[in-house]
Amino acid sequence: MTDAIRTPAFEAKPKVSPLYDPKVRSLVFQAVLCLVIAFLLYQAYANAVENLRRAKIASGLGFWDNIAGFPISQSLIYYSEASSSYGRAFWVGLLNTLLVASIGIVLATILGFIVGIARLSRNFLVAKIAYWYVEIVRNLPLLLQLLFWYNAVIKALPEVRDSISFPGGIYLNNRGFIFPTPNFGEAFWLVTVTFWAGVLGALFYRAYARKKQEATGIQSPVGLTAFGLIVGLPLAVFLLAGMPLSFQFPQAGRFNITGGVSLLPEFLALLFGLVIYTAAFIAEAVRAGILAVSKGQTEAAYALGLTPKNTLNLVVIPQAMRVIIPPLTSHYLNLTKNSSLAVFVGYPDLVNIFTGTVLNQTGQAIEVVAITMLVYLTISLTTSLIMNWYNARKALVER
């Protein structure tokens, strides 16, 4: 077959000297460029190693397994200043960064959507409040806001002795937000299993309901059924299993309320600062997205007899999301990177622990900074990847 479409023109390919063949030339140039870059990188590396050696500064990753010896105020995994290594401290910092970033992204998205929609509200007061919120928060430096939140949080909250106590053993003071530690009983796994089974069941039911609606036009009560499966069923199992959950209540100690889980004021201040700052930007992206959907779409939906709620959910938001998602991605990335300002409010994130204390104790600036940069790059690229995938799913499908 291929022989059939071969034309004489191809066979009589004019003979060109490889020097003037555009294909060969471009390959050669790319190879040369790669070599130059590789050479440059190697030179920079060799130069750094040589200079470090001459200045008698230790290099390499030998420090990774050494005992860190410094305390960290919050860790999600086991960490002890007596026996944990610098490597362990790195993971503690990384997890703390991921913790504040992930919770921050969720909360900033919720707040951003609320404010963005509020700015378009027909209610004068709501729209103006949202307007001023965005204008003030967006135009003040984040660091200043973090310091404000940290000092406002500390100064506004009472001393330990005068802790504000809430029913259920919850305390709030300038050492943090302290609540009882849950102790899960032996039979609690039953509840967990039921919960996930409920989630799975709800997903299946939704798919079934959609199919049914497409075939017959009859709608099913998806929301109610999902609620029953995800909340009701585990609750019933929990009660039947004899409530296998107890709480360890916080006790007033010599210096602080001990026992119980506490959220540090540093964490709260950083979270508040990041959420409120980023939400202002997200609100603007949301507003832009909604305004980008032409008014005719809403009017057409109304003409078809859709309720305002369905118009918003089925017509406006799906189209607005196409405009909102790309800027949303960069706001998520910004939030994650901005969390590195944690050191100013004493929150033990990656930069505070690793590029701060570990760098200083070991003195190995090049290795530590390079690792930190790689970590942020990885986090950001992963976030980007997920958001791009989501964007591709939501993008306009041309038929």
Binding site: F29, N51, A55, P71, I154, E159, V343
Partner: protein
């Protein structure tokens, strides 16, 4: 085509030249300082008595005067110093990178800093130890009662490690809150975030003075560590290390010999050979380290001897009123001792 090749070749040559130049040996620190006409001195971000700029931007303090002494030895002028404020976290990187010629900012001499950071320590300017400050209202009498307390501490300091060691050794529970700068740390303690603030005892007295209500706070009597504070220079330039080290020794020797800022001109006529060698009347000790022979005279004339500098900045002549204690001369029950100039 040819022009592209040519530019590539030029680029490669330029890169080679640049990296080659980087790999070359640097000129000595003394030559750099002389050529620049000013000494870059890494100082603290503000610690009363040790290094603090006033409203006019004039730096004063014990650590500051060490830099002034080096400037006096090199330039015969104590004012040719540019002070670069550095946080505890940034100080070593700044010195390693050549941003400053020396550090003089309450830095503890430890083996790991001396051996693996590419640094050299010149001599002990102040024998210190780590302590705690607490609110009087907390009714704490000793550091051993701090189990379970939140302690504010500055990042990247020996203090941070000593704190963990002390609590661990005494089986006390510790909640440390770490900040990047001294100011943030003190502010958090004053704001009530922590029950105690820890740093070198000298620093505690200095910070207490700057608090809104100094009388509400007290320094606990326990000293939990040895903190020999020393000026720091880069590893590998022995001449510069000698200059900084002997500038300090000259100040201590001057105190031992009773040579002061006021009587130094008179002492030039002294018949005591030790004094004559210190002031450069006899011998060529200055030339041996690349300075003029009158370097010792210049230091005492412009800055004063160690005792004078101590009393003026942190001792009886200052609001801190710290007793000489360990920092007295060896002949008066302290630890300050300078090898002889001869």
């Amino acid at each position: 085509m040819k022009s592209i090749l040519k530019s590539l070749a030029f680029g490669a040559a330029g890169i080679l030249a640049a990296t080659g130049a980087m790999a070359q040996t640097k000129t000595s620190t003394l030559d750099q300082v002389k050529a620049r006409g000013v000494l870059n001195c890494g100082s603290g971000t503000g610690l009363a008595g040790f290094g603090l700029p006033d409203a006019q931007g004039n730096w004063t303090g014990l650590d500051v005067d060490i830099c002034r002494a080096v400037s006096a030895a090199v330039f015969n002028d104590p004012a040719k110093v540019k002070f670069v404020p550095l946080s505890a976290k940034d100080r070593f990187t700044a010195l390693q990178a050549g941003e400053v010629d020396m550090l003089s900012r309450n830095t503890t001499w430890t083996s790991s800093r001396d051996t693996s950071l590419g640094l050299n320590f010149a001599g002990i300017t102040y024998f210190d130890g780590q302590g705690f400050i607490v609110k009087k209202s907390a009714k704490i009498a000793s550091a051993f009662e701090l189990g379970g307390a939140s302690v504010c501490v500055q990042q990247g300091t020996t203090t941070e490690l000593n704190l963990a060691d002390f609590f661990r050794a005494n089986k006390l529970q510790l909640k440390a809150v770490t900040f990047a700068t001294n100011d943030e740390t003190v502010k958090a303690y004053e704001g009530g975030r922590c029950d105690a603030f820890t740093t070198d005892a000298s620093g505690l007295y200095a910070e207490r003075l700057r608090m809104a209500k100094p009388d509400d706070h007290m320094v606990l009597p326990d000293i939990i560590s040895k903190e020999p504070l020393s000026p720091v220079v880069r590893h590998g330039d022995d001449q510069w290390l000698d200059i900084v080290r002997w500038s300090l020794f000259a100040m201590i020797t001057a105190e031992e010999l009773g040579v002061t800022k006021a009587n130094v001109d008179e002492q030039l006529k002294s018949t005591n050979p030790d004094i004559r060698r210190l002031l450069g009347v006899e011998g060529k000790f200055g030339e041996a380290i690349g300075l003029s022979n009158a370097w010792g005279y210049q230091i005492v004339k412009h800055v004063g001897n160690y005792g004078e500098v101590f009393e003026k900045n942190v001792g009886a002549g200052s609001p801190l009123k710290i007793a000489r204690g360990l920092n007295n001369l060896w002949s008066k029950g302290g630890l300050q001792y300078a090898p002889p100039i001869r």
